[in-house]
Assembly symmetry: C2
Homo-oligomer: 299 residues x 2
């Protein structure tokens, strides 16, 4: 079996981002940390870390890190059964890594985490990426579980449907008046500034294709990679865009934002994918995620 | 001089992320786009694009893209002077790239962009990164301007102070009661779950160093890479963390969040850095940013 101390050194360097910080946390010298990892690299015959700042994992390093996380989760289950409740010492510094999309984080993830923390006492380290790209985080072993747009399981993972996030095309009343009033839709959408989350976000383009067919207008674009900035920009009249319904119900009800195409929404199905591991912690996290999603997403 | 059509092809591929999408926007074939860029690469003797999905720029490609952006900004100034106001055709698809930190985006950036859009009609493409890392985006030529934590100018850029973002260490009243009531601060902070934005965020560690000296406790950690998720998590009682004052004044006033160390805050000075270019657009953007920051940040 692999040397657990060496695995722990690898994991700590990746969590802390440097050999110095890892050494401080492990109460050893940086050179001891470095030696343990080098021994592991020699034994396995591959490089595990990219020595940049912060230090990152090679593909092999990430796989090994996942292996360490799995052992850690299993040990934590063991500790829960063996130790008096409330003894948090064995959990110090451990967080379960999960990748989520930004709109989920802005709506139902925090309640799910609160529920999970109340039940397990554990904390979670979140990574945020587009729902079409969180699968890569899972595949590379960087995270333990992910909210994905794909129902196709990553090898070694199980998949649960979470429901669908519903999106509406919204803008401020002043923006609608200025750009859409009395105009042909195609002409209006070719000229009205459009909000886009980032380069990976294809939701607005998909909406335009569904509405206008194969026209592909190229309006002026804002890139706003934050769910709340996206809403703030819509309220300020900077552009139109597709917003997650749970966050904008009040804005629609109060007339602060108006639906540019009433009756037409886009549903994005989401899935919970996690590494198969018979662990109480993983089961609890999954149950909390499914429950919180059920209350927010379209079923 | 370099062929402008080839530069435009390079820029369009980088904006759209693929040769196919760039070709559609330029109304030519993907192979025509590819040929123009290859000719540029042969002339300059270096590779400009990494042919991944999405396509990204090499260091040389990024520098060339910046060059194209500079020409585009200068031409847009020219167009504004030569064309009747409101003719947006020449601006189609162009956005000025700017890197900002998440907490600025959540507070004063959207008002600044609204002001800028009203004056110039231009749109902006935002990249979000830690304020200690936005300088890299500027140096690599990926962005035209950035909110940075460093007053030291990137070569070729000018620097303006924006003021300081003030941070307070906050938690929910229930969290404070559970973890801090009647306890030694050092013992409490070693055990109370801590909110951290991401691996780059050192603000909580800095706060602990200032408060406790060189103790370096390692409490359980949440990673929550979103300004609003950070606040939602604090309100839900998941952990303590440093929050930007402009976003939490109401929470503090209403008692929804409490200050763990009243009278002790951390000020993070921010700067506006932008490429030196005698352009009306760049001047307007700078003026709007400085004005909006002045209303929100500590001067």
């Amino acid at each position: 079996m692999l040397d657990l101390q060496a695995l722990r050194a690898l994991a700590t360097v990746l969590r802390e981002g440097s050999f110095e910080r890892a050494a401080r946390q492990m109460h050893v010298t940086p050179s001891a940390v470095s030696q343990r990892i080098r021994a592991l690299e020699e034994k396995l015959g591959c490089v595990l870390l990219v020595r940049t700042s912060p230090v990152t994992a090679t593909e092999e390093g990430a796989r090994l890190y996942l292996h360490f996380l799995q052992i850690e989760v299993l040990e934590s289950d063991l500790a829960r059964d063996l130790q008096p409740l409330g003894d948090a010492a064995s959990k110090r510094g451990r967080s379960i890594r999960v990748a989520v999309n930004a709109d989920s984080l802005a709506t139902w993830i925090i309640p799910a985490l609160a529920d999970f923390h109340a039940r397990s006492g554990d904390t979670v380290a979140l990574h945020v990426d587009d729902q079409d790209h969180t699968r890569e985080w899972l595949r590379s072993g960087t995270v333990f579980a992910a909210v994905t747009a794909s129902a196709e399981p990553v090898a070694g993972c199980r998949v649960d449907p979470l429901g669908s996030m519903r999106y509406h095309a919204l803008a401020s009343p002043a923006f609608q008046q200025r750009h859409f009033q009395g105009r042909d839709l195609q002409a209006a959408f070719a000229e009205a500034p459009m909000l886009v989350y980032n380069q990976k976000d294809q939701l607005q383009h998909r909406f335009l294709r569904e509405l206008l067919g194969d026209v592909d207008p190229h309006p002026p674009v804002w890139w706003l990679p934050s769910t709340h900035a996206f809403m703030d920009a819509a309220r300020a009249g900077l552009g139109w865009g597709l917003h997650p319904l749970p966050l904008v119900v009040d804005d629609i009800a109060s007339g602060r934002l108006v639906d540019l195409s009433p009756g037409h929404s886009i549903d994005v199905p989401l899935y919970w994918q996690s590494w198969r591991l018979d662990s109480e912690t993983v089961h609890t996290l999954r149950a909390c995620m499914l429950r919180a999603a059920e209350g927010t997403l379209q079923q």
